[in-house]
């Protein structure tokens, strides 16, 4: 029924989208794996990064791929500051409070963007925005192909940092055993902030990779973040490999179901998978369910 000529491009496109989803999910799962919090502000921060990338082009004339080198450290610093000076202190260490604080942040960021930039949807008009490259029977949009390669590079870079750098080792120590790490002299608040910063930095990269082919408005980030949440829950909270593989998988599923179901229903599909994943995942309670 569906020929390879239709399926293969759908799958390839799915992989490309999936790569960006994976990057967003990576930030989320990193934050969860180390801080054990679900960052409800992730979507709003992505939106903010997308706006930043957009205006970096509009006002500074920076190509998004170049802007990435500016925005990534900037958003790293923003994430660091948010965790160190807002979320950490405000939450008093209680899980429930962290939920509410990140939710509050999300509301503030999203609506600040709405207030300043209005609800208009904007899109960048780049010279290469519609270029395609040919892979087998498929024509892949150039920005998406670049995004795919870039995500692999970023994932690799993150892996190297986590594996070999002192910071990475400290992060892994805190993730595994916070009290022990603290007793060993690691500044946990600093590590938490670094991790949050890394998560936000991932968003900055993702934003720059998305902007050439995607629109931006104050709720743009939310669509991606829902998918990211789904990936993280499916792939395992805190698992980097899970985020990557899950991301690619979800990208392909979305692309294929989009062929059959159309866009709105596709969205519902993702939500339903998300709900099912949440309901069926083994419970995180102490002991088994009797």
């Amino acid at each position: 029924m569906l020929s390879p000529a239709i399926l293969i491009p759908a799958i390839l496109n799915g992989l490309m989208s999936g790569a960006v989803y994976a990057l967003v999910a990576l930030g989320l799962t990193l934050i969860y794996g180390v801080l054990h919090i679900i960052n409800f502000a992730h979507g709003a921060l992505l939106t903010a990064a997308m706006f930043a990338a957009f205006f970096a082009n509009r006002w500074l004339g920076l190509d998004p791929y170049v802007a990435a080198f500016l925005l990534t450290p900037l958003f790293f610093a923003l994430g660091y500051a948010l965790q160190r000076f807002v979320i950490g202190p405000a939450a008093h260490g209680e899980d429930r409070n962290i939920l509410l604080v990140t939710l509050g942040l999300a509301v503030v960021i999203e609506n600040a963007l709405l207030y300043v930039f209005r609800a208009d949807t904007r899109i960048l008009d780049l010279p290469y925005g519609f270029d395609t490259i040919q892979v087998g029977p498929a024509f892949i949009a150039l920005p998406r192909a670049i995004a795919f390669v870039a995500v692999i590079a970023v994932a690799l870079a993150l892996w190297l940092i986590m594996r070999f750098s002192d910071t990475g080792k400290a992060i892994r120590a805190v993730a595994r055993e916070k009290l022990g790490a603290e007793l060993a002299g690691i500044d946990v608040a600093h590590v938490y902030a670094m991790t949050f910063g890394l998560g936000t930095a991932c968003l900055a990269v993702a934003a720059c990779l998305l902007i050439p082919s995607y629109y931006v408005n104050p709720s743009a980030g939310n669509a991606f973040v829902l998918i990211a949440f789904t990936i993280v829950v499916l792939g395992g909270m805190g698992s980097v490999a899970g985020a990557l593989i899950g991301g690619l998988f979800v990208g392909v599923v979305e692309s294929l179901s989009g062929l059959w179901l159309g866009e709105s229903l596709g969205q519902i599909g993702i939500f339903l998978i998300f709900i099912l994943a949440l309901l069926l995942r083994p419970s995180g309670l102490f002991g088994e369910r009797a």
């Binding site: 509050g104 609506n111 600040a112 300043v116 309901l279």
Partner: protein, 332 residues
């Protein structure tokens, strides 16, 4: 009996004061403001039962608000049902949705962040369905026909609406106060404090949570039904949008979670803040929510027990009482 009367007294006083407002002013602006604030107080009281007393923080109470609103509206518009039974059915529908979501979420053992996430997801699914389903008018929304008779639950003047929403809020206050004094309430609070300890004491924690969810949903749904009658227009974004999920939790958190008056206090304060913002900085979209989000963060950071908690602290400070009375002040 005497204790019962005493505990209802503050509610009666507050209600009497509020009921007297139409006698003092005929300003539509004031009445509009109060109607909306009371609506939020009602919706917030629903959230408060599950979130404040039960400790289960839902980020998707829009699911119940929207269901109440849509059921009320659609029954009238498409099936010619009279407004009053439509209102009641809207509440039942909300409770039913609460039962379903509660059963799914709690039997899977979801707590904390995961519970918040799943409620968020359910609300979003409903929103998307409502935005494309023909029965809700899809993108265009649903318009309730103007029919200014009391039989159709519509009125020329704002005052009857005001009194109705006030009555609904009153019922919700009494309901919560009553729950506080029953076994169900004691079990609910135990579940919030320590679920495993509660189970060891014979509490069927899953059933208690589902029950709280249903009651919470019913109260919030009543707010949705009222919204449909008062504003006469709803669409997917209004009925099931994140805005109402956020308002639902903001009012109780600001006012004081787990207290009877928290949502009312919080709603009045937050809405006043919103109005003040509009006066000072104009009516641009987004600004009020920026303020609300900031308030949420600030309250959680500096006054986690909300206004009610601050008042209790002030009272304690003023009294400088010995340890025994401290515990008393905690339960004012």
């Amino acid at each position: 009996m005497k204790a019962q009367a005493k505990s209802l007294l503050p509610i009666l006083v507050a209600l009497a004061l509020l009921a007297a407002v139409p006698l003092v002013t005929t300003s539509n602006v004031v009445l509009n403001f109060l109607v909306f604030a009371l609506l939020i107080a009602l919706v917030g009281q629903g959230w408060n039962l599950l979130g404040g007393y039960g400790g289960q923080h839902s980020f998707g109470h829009a699911a119940f608000f929207g269901t109440g609103a849509y059921v009320t509206a659609i029954l009238q518009v498409r099936y010619g049902v009279n407004a009053w039974p439509a209102f009641a059915l809207g509440i039942f529908a909300g409770a039913a949705v609460g039962a379903v979501i509660g059963a799914l979420a709690f039997r899977s053992g979801l707590r904390g962040s995961y519970f918040a996430l799943v409620t968020l997801a359910f609300a979003e699914v409903l929103r998307i369905v409502a935005s494309v389903a023909p029965i809700t008018g899809a993108g265009v929304g649903t318009l309730v026909k103007l029919d200014l008779r009391w039989q159709a639950l519509q009125f020329q003047s704002r005052v009857p609406f005001y009194l109705i929403i006030l009555a609904l809020v009153a019922v919700s206050l009494v309901l919560v106060r009553v729950v506080e004094r029953t076994r169900f309430g004691a079990w609910l609070v135990a579940v919030r404090e320590n679920e495993d300890a509660a189970r060891a004491l014979g509490v069927d924690t899953t059933l208690v949570k589902i029950g709280a969810m249903m009651l919470s949903a019913a109260i919030t749904a009543a707010g949705g039904c009222f919204y449909a009658q008062y504003y006469l227009f709803i669409d997917a974004g209004i009925a099931y949008g994140p805005w109402i999920s956020i308002e639902a939790l903001l009012a109780p958190i600001v006012g004081g979670v787990g207290t009877v008056f928290g949502p009312l206090l919080g709603a009045l304060v937050v809405k006043s803040l919103g109005e003040a913002t509009k006066l000072l900085a104009g009516d641009a979209p987004g600004l009020d929510l920026v303020i609300y989000g900031s308030v949420l963060v600030l309250v959680v950071a500096f006054a986690p027990r909300g206004i009610a908690g601050l008042l209790a602290d002030l009272r304690r400070w003023g009294r400088r009482a010995p340890a025994g009375a401290l515990a008393e002040a905690d339960h004012a």
